[in-house]
């Protein structure tokens, strides 16, 4: 069929194409013409401009969760590796840590201070799990140049895994502070540079026996985290 010299037929087919009543072989043939016929494409565009606004007649706001589903499908939420939790939804994380972690840390610092002989505690952190349960206490003692780490009794670690302690800077860099060989407590060397003023968070990751194969970042899941509070 030759439609080039038949403007009425062209317009009729364009209208039926947009409306959806052009079907089957006729529709496929029309689409082939569209690929090479710019004037036919503008005829379709003209009918779209006429008919498609019908869609606007019944606006209904979608459920609020719809947007989150779009982001999830596009992988926006996963653009940051899962273990880099501190880059995800920063404001909320900081907010909850500032209120919860900060208070708990100061209280625990006082408790620790009473138990360690004449310590000079510089900084402390309470590391919480994702249900905000305290899992570890970390305290830096400048006099002994040690970082003391104690794990709460209720924390169970598989025998073939090791807990590893990390310092995280405001810029999002991670520095290993050492591993907990027995997964219960450790006394690690205090490296002032490693826990300097740029460090805002401490975190514990679950690593293969012996620690993360990557010296600069956790490879396993981050289980606990908390603000690093100066006293």
């Amino acid at each position: 069929m030759n439609i080039e010299d038949n403007p009425l037929l062209r317009d009729k087919l364009a209208a039926e194409y947009v409306l959806g009543t052009l079907r089957g072989g006729a529709r496929r043939r029309f689409e082939r013409w569209l690929a090479t016929d710019a004037a036919l494409r503008s005829a379709v565009a003209g009918w779209q401009a006429r008919i498609v606004p019908m869609a606007e007649w019944s606006a209904v706001p979608p459920p609020a969760r719809t947007w989150a589903g779009i982001e999830r499908r596009l992988g926006f939420a996963r653009a940051v590796p899962a273990w880099q939790f501190w880059r995800i939804d920063g404001a909320r994380l900081w907010g909850s840590l500032a209120v919860g972690g900060g208070v708990a840390a100061v209280v625990l610092a006082v408790v620790l201070a009473g138990r360690v002989q004449e310590p000079q505690l510089q900084q402390v952190a309470t590391l919480l799990d994702d249900q905000a349960q305290t899992a570890l206490v970390v305290a830096a003692d400048a006099r002994r140049a040690r970082i003391d780490v104690r794990v709460a009794d209720n924390v169970k670690v598989p025998d073939d895994r090791t807990l590893q302690l990390w310092a995280i800077t405001a810029a999002g860099k991670t520095r290993s502070l050492g591993i907990l060989p027995d997964n219960r407590h450790a006394s690690l060397r205090l490296d002032q540079r490693a826990v300097g003023p740029d460090v805002v968070l401490l975190a514990i990751s679950l690593e293969p026996k012996g620690g993360s194969p990557d010296p600069n970042a956790p490879t396993g899941p981050v289980l606990y985290k908390g603000a690093w509070v100066k006293l």
């Binding site: 869609a55 979608p62 499908r73």
Partner: protein, 194 residues
């Protein structure tokens, strides 16, 4: 009119930004259009959860296809609506149970929906001038022409399916739709010239 042109222009700029991977612009584009597009998907699919999925499918496509959007061929909202319609119709075809249509009810619903929301509660989404003009011209059609065109578009019915819904010979339905579309075109171009 000026405000409407501004809106179309704003949407066009947002689509251009989305083409460059601007996620904030993508969110603004969603906020500006989601209610219209969801309402449309709901009209086709009739179920909230299906319409929600169609809307999500469509926005995923919009994100990927934004770079290929041709502003000289279609207004941004027209382009997005066509994507939503295709997604919704894909889902409709995957449904086992065909949508039950009541021709009289359908026309009543359509007449109600095309009432200018500007006259209703202020929080309702403004129609574009194009949608308002189309509503005006559709109202001027004979009821059966309007019904046939609306059913074909909203429910993706063929000539024979519309004929079956209206219990009429297919030739009659073809003629009604043809004449209805011609009248629409004339009416819309008159309004445009005015």
């Amino acid at each position: 009119m000026t405000k409407d042109l501004d809106n179309t222009d704003a949407l066009r700029r947002l689509v251009a930004a989305v083409a460059l991977g601007d996620r904030a612009a993508f969110r603004r584009l969603y906020d500006a259009t989601a209610a219209k597009l969801f309402g449309f998907a709901l009209r086709i699919l009739r179920k909230d959860e299906l319409a929600e999925e169609a809307l999500q499918d469509a926005f995923v496509s919009i994100w990927h296809a934004a770079a290929g959007y041709q502003p000289h061929l279609a207004a941004p909202l027209t382009w997005m609506t066509t994507i939503v319609r295709n997604k919704a119709l894909d889902m409709l075809r995957r449904q086992d149970d065909a949508v039950e249509l009541d021709a009289q009810q359908f026309d009543a619903d359509m007449l109600l929906a095309m009432q200018d929301p500007a006259a209703g509660p202020p929080d309702r989404m403004q129609m574009t001038d194009e949608a308002r003009a189309l509503a005006h011209c559709m109202e001027a059609l004979e009821g059966r022409q309007r019904q046939a065109i609306g059913m074909a578009y909203f429910h993706d019915l063929s000539h024979s399916e519309v004929a079956a819904q209206l219990s009429l010979p297919i030739g009659t339905v073809k003629t009604w739709i043809r004449r209805g579309l011609d009248k629409l075109k004339t009416c819309l171009s008159k309004r445009e010239a005015a």
